[in-house]
Amino acid sequence: MTGPDEERTAAEAGVVAERPSDAGGSAAREAEMFQGGRRRRGGEQTVVPEAEIESYYGRPVLKPPVWEWKIAAYLFCGGLAAGSSVVAAGADLTGRAALRRSARLGSLGGLLASLYFLVTDLGRPARFHHMLRVLKPTSPMSVGTWLLSAYGPGAGAAAVAELVPRRWRRTWPARLLQRLARPAGLGAAATAPGVASYTAVLLSHTAVPAWNEVRDELPFVFAGSAAASGGGLGMVTAPVAEAGGARGFAAAGAATELLASRIMEHRLGLVGEVYRTGHVARLRRASEVLTAAGLVGTLTVARRGRAGAAASGLALLAGSALQRFGVFEAGVESTKDPRYVVIPQRG
């Protein structure tokens, strides 16, 4: 901008006040607008002082994401798969067969659901393999594609080894598979931390204000959420005596998720509004309550009985899923109002 900043009143600039509180417009308010009156948005409580901006008829500056709910569902399923792979590897190495089996199956289920959501959300699903043409470090989606490609075969092989029917176990392919299961599972667990945390960069590496501005905390929110869901699934599906490792992993994840999520929300400036209001706030409150309850349950009742463990695990799973939907929807909302783009950039 080379032009001088001129002193202008709102009237001269033809200010479009943000967010009219009703669609109609009383005569008084219209008269106020003629004089460039500064209207305040009623109702919602905000920490940041209201700022008046000029906009092009209130139209958004950015395009809202074209991604549907499937991407939020993918964020959850991918995290669940990654968390389960870590639990499966731990159970395998410490000789907990039931936990190992359910966690391996959980990781395969999460992976298959992830692939379904990712492919069907494409504009041209038949071209999904075009993702494999290149590896681009500037594209988190490309990095993630290759991370999943590295993770998937190991997680798949380990899970399939659990599914071999008893009467085939003595055949040579089954024996080979059994022998491969441990290295495959450990390989999956080695790439799982990447799978669990790259999705945060996937969202933050965009111009979407509510995703880009949480780039410091979101990896911890998502990694914690993945651990909570992976551990939670182990608590639901394995006997209490075997699920100690799953409980520890889930508790660490849930605590991290709760803390990082709180810090994220409170550090945000203007765009924090989208996290604190409307249906996004409801999703996030529900997530927080479920995750907190699941954490308390994990540390108390989940040690004592199967019912308590299952309830705590389910609460953690639901909390993790709602966390992903909450963050996803916050981003979509933040693109629809030009204020969230213009005001922070005016700084």
Binding site: K63, P338, V341
Partner: protein, 344 residues
């Protein structure tokens, strides 16, 4: 490395791997001479066979295109303001003419935009949801403008018209995040989607800090201005620039356009238009400068442009570092959880 992901970059085509590329080309859109005729929109649609996306009225101004998108690669914005342009004599002082009708239309349109499925980012012009009963927009009026409000509310006025287009950024957010390589840097330094590669993942839509690129309904692929790549290859200027009757849209080598634009701003300042300023010309801005830049007569946001856009890739290294930390914590938590358990 930092120079390649953000900041000034002189030869974008060579940086992208082109050997001995031609000079970088672009647009200088001088909005001070735009007359809002929309010949650019029409020429673009015709040449590039961009489909029709609705023929209704938006109910907000003479602009019935609304925004750039998959089916509008040029968009002429129209803004009416109650102030004077330079020394221009509006002649309203002696006439019973009241204020601009724009605030009224904005009040009527804005809540409907909020309720639209994509928050008003959709192009076009299908009826907006919201109230169903008729609502007065102040036009057409049967009274003379200003009759009801009296002489004290008479104002000057000016019309701002600006033809917006893809900025063909030096550091293009859309290109950086494209996971298939469908978006690429041409030898001319422009950014183009290869339609036979794009699989419609939609990442570019959220990667663009200007809200330009979008996925086409029913087609599923990302679409935006190609700066007429086919015409450039044949030695022709892009269709919009060719059709522009006032040379508001100027096509040429970027270095020369920047010099020309700087002279034009100086000239306008001398003519009493101190609000004239360039937008997107600076290689030190958040996207490394635009291949298509503008001369504006008001703040960028008035035209629906972001005031200080930044390519998300600028922070890529920092983001991956944080993700790496989180991944390490995730792995440590997994190991620690089972270490204490002992072998069964």
């Amino acid at each position: 490395m930092s120079n390649r992901w953000s900041g000034p970059l002189h030869d974008v085509a060579a940086d992208a791997g082109h050997v001995d590329p031609p000079p970088r080309v672009g647009f200088f859109t001088d909005t001070s001479v735009c007359i809002g005729c929309k010949a650019c929109e029409v020429a673009c649609k015709e040449w590039n066979a961009v489909p029709e996306d609705g023929l209704d009225l938006l109910g907000m101004s003479f602009d019935n295109t609304g925004a750039l998108g998959a089916d509008s690669w040029r968009h002429v914005a129209f803004i009416e303001q109650p102030r004077r342009l330079g020394h221009q004599e509006t002649g309203f002082a002696g006439l019973p003419t009241g204020p601009s009708g724009i605030p009224e239309t904005a009040v009527a349109v804005e809540p409907r935009l909020r309720e639209a499925p994509r928050g008003g980012a959709e192009l076009g012009t299908s009826p907006l949801p919201g109230r169903t009963e008729p609502q007065a927009l102040g036009m057409p009026g049967f009274d003379r403008p200003g009759d009801a409000t009296g002489a004290e509310s008479r104002t000057d006025f000016r019309w701002l018209m600006a033809s917006d287009v893809c900025k063909h950024c030096t550091h293009a957010g859309c290109l950086d995040v494209c996971p298939t390589g469908a978006l690429f840097r041409t030898e001319f330094g422009t950014v183009v989607v290869q339609q036979d590669i794009c699989n419609g993942c939609g990442y570019c839509v959220s990667g663009c800090p200007y809200g330009v690129i979008d996925r086409r309904e029913g087609d599923g692929r990302a679409q935006k201005c190609t700066l007429c790549y086919d015409r450039l290859s044949g030695g022709l200027e892009p269709a919009c620039a060719k059709a522009c009757p006032t040379d508001s849209i100027q096509f040429g080598e970027l270095d020369e356009l920047r010099e020309r634009a700087a002279r034009r701003v100086e000239q306008l300042h001398g003519l009493g238009v101190p609000e004239a300023r360039l937008y997107g010309h600076d290689p030190n801005d958040g996207v490394g400068g635009d291949g298509a830049f503008f001369l504006l007569l008001d703040e960028p946001e008035v035209y629906g442009l972001p005031p200080n856009p930044v390519v998300p890739t600028r922070d890529a290294a920092a983001m991956w570092k944080r993700a790496g930390l989180a991944a390490a914590a995730f792995a440590v938590a997994g190991v620690a959880a089972f270490l204490g358990e002992g072998r069964r």
